[in-house]
């Protein structure tokens, strides 16, 4: 492909939450900034911009990714999913989201989008996780409010519900 010049903006096309989108970016534009300021998808948060905190975690082609460590131009042609995709309909919550709400698994909510996206991505591929598995996945995120225990509890509860073995069957089709 031709070199994308640093000096100008370039159009990047990808699928975002199932919808084809394009955004104009410089080669150096981080995916976080392209999503938030280029496309107005502000649910993905910026916490550290060096890949440690996990607040910006999104799914790229079905795998977890730190959006702050991803160039927007590198997402060309990819299938991106962000926290805005999780609710089955406006005003409703998916299984994972509802479990977070029940368990008080969030306070300020700033880290939450990233954790939801990690868990959503993980649970799609690992429907029978152990507490330790989920703790390790959540261990890739920093939360400063909750002390993590309710997040682990919510994740376990959501996993059970998605398997159809929980007391909260509503919205069971959506992670």
């Amino acid at each position: 492909m031709p070199k994308l010049s640093a000096a100008i903006r370039h159009s990047v096309a990808f699928t975002l939450n199932g919808v084809p989108r394009t955004v104009e970016v410089e080669p150096r534009t981080l995916l976080t900034d392209a999503l938030r300021h280029g496309l107005g998808m502000t649910g993905t948060h910026v916490g550290c911009e060096h890949g440690v905190c996990g607040a910006c975690t999104v799914a790229i082609d079905g795998a977890m990714a730190r959006a702050c460590l991803t160039l927007a131009v590198a997402a060309e042609g990819c299938d991106l999913r962000t926290v805005e995709s999780l609710a089955p309909a406006p005003g409703r919550l998916g299984v994972l989201q509802a479990a977070f709400k029940r368990h008080h698994a969030l306070q300020c909510g700033f880290c939450t989008a990233g954790i939801l996206m990690s868990l959503d991505t993980y649970l799609r591929r690992h429907p029978n996780p152990s507490r330790e598995d989920l703790t390790l996945v959540i261990g890739g995120h920093l939360c400063r409010c909750t002390g993590y225990a309710p997040i682990v509890a919510a994740a376990l509860d959501a996993a059970a519900e998605l398997r159809g073995t929980s007391e909260h069957p509503e919205d069971a089709a959506h992670a």
Binding site: M1, K3, L4, S5, A6, A7, E26, P27, R28, L30, D33, E49, H50, G51, G54, T57, A63, M64, A65, R66, C68, L69, T70, L71, V73, A74, E76, S118, Y122, L136, V137, G139, G140, H141
Partner: protein, 275 residues
């Protein structure tokens, strides 16, 4: 905390990537998983003129077995390697070490070759490559060459790779019969860079112990089959030889303590699983 400006090339062919490296006069960097490079770009610790994205190169996407080695090309992500069902038979040491590399979120993007190219002295993959006496396959527009791991890591984030070369693959010798492997590390938190990481390979002839996080590069030492106080002495000599330093996480003394402790632990582990 935004990167300085650079041009970007998403290479469609390996030749395109190599040509870009050559054309840049040393001012280009390969972008693979980005888990080491991107933080440095964001912090502006490094500011290349050109980034060459190699993640769309089909030729680099799949691990393969080749002449007694597991060859991991530059486009293979850590998570993909960890998910490889046969990894534990092919390269058991790597199977032990990979879960310690960052977190699931970074392994989903990061590449073993990128870790080797970055050459952080605490990183697990370079340590395993060195312990296994693997090699780094380098390619430039002009030539391809293989460098032994022991010769590849030359300092803190400094390697034998020339500026017009890229790490095309790493090659890890396959598991050998009668050989045992051990890996252990101590970090402040799970997923952190190791304060000290040790990997051992033990066979009928001797012990190869590699240590990361202490010297300015991973360092390996070949020892005869020792135990008891002779092993203590050998580990103590190694601990002192590595010239441990201090940082906010650990003292030099602590690092030496860990070399002695983890060194013995991984050697014993390797001996156990050899039998």
């Amino acid at each position: 905390m935004k990167p300085a400006a650079f041009d970007y090339i998403r290479a469609a062919h390996l030749d395109e990537a190599l040509a870009a490296l050559q054309a840049s006069g040393g001012d280009a960097r390969i972008l693979a998983g980005g888990q080491s490079l991107m933080p440095m770009l964001n912090m502006r610790l490094t500011r290349p003129a050109v980034l060459v994205d190699i993640m769309r190169l089909g030729a680099l996407a799949e691990p393969r077995i080749e002449k007694g080695a597991l060859v991991v090309p530059a486009g293979v992500r850590q998570a993909a390697l960890l998910d490889r069902a046969t990894l534990v038979d092919e390269a058991p040491l790597l199977a032990l070490a990979l879960p310690w590399v960052g977190h699931a979120q970074t392994r989903a993007r990061g590449t073993p070759c990128g870790s080797v190219a970055h050459a952080d002295p605490s990183a697990e993959t370079p340590l395993c490559l060195l312990a296994l006496e693997g090699e780094v396959r380098l390619r430039s527009k002009k030539r391809a060459r293989a460098v032994k791991a022991a010769d590849f890591f030359t300092g803190m984030m400094v390697t034998a790779k020339a500026e017009d070369e890229m790490v095309e693959a790493i090659a890890l010798p396959l598991r050998r019969p009668g050989t045992g492997y051990g890996f252990a590390e101590v970090a402040r938190r799970h997923g952190d860079y190791a304060i000290v990481a040790c990997a051992a390979v033990v066979d009928g002839r001797g012990i190869r112990l590699a240590v990361g996080g202490v010297a300015d590069r991973p360092t390996a030492r070949d020892l005869p089959l020792l135990d008891g106080s002779a092993l203590d002495d050998a580990l103590n000599a190694l601990a002192w030889d590595l010239g441990a330093g201090e940082d906010v996480h650990a003292t030099a003394r602590y690092r030496r303590d860990l070399v002695r402790h983890l060194g013995r632990q991984v050697i014993e582990e390797a001996m156990r699983c050899r039998n």
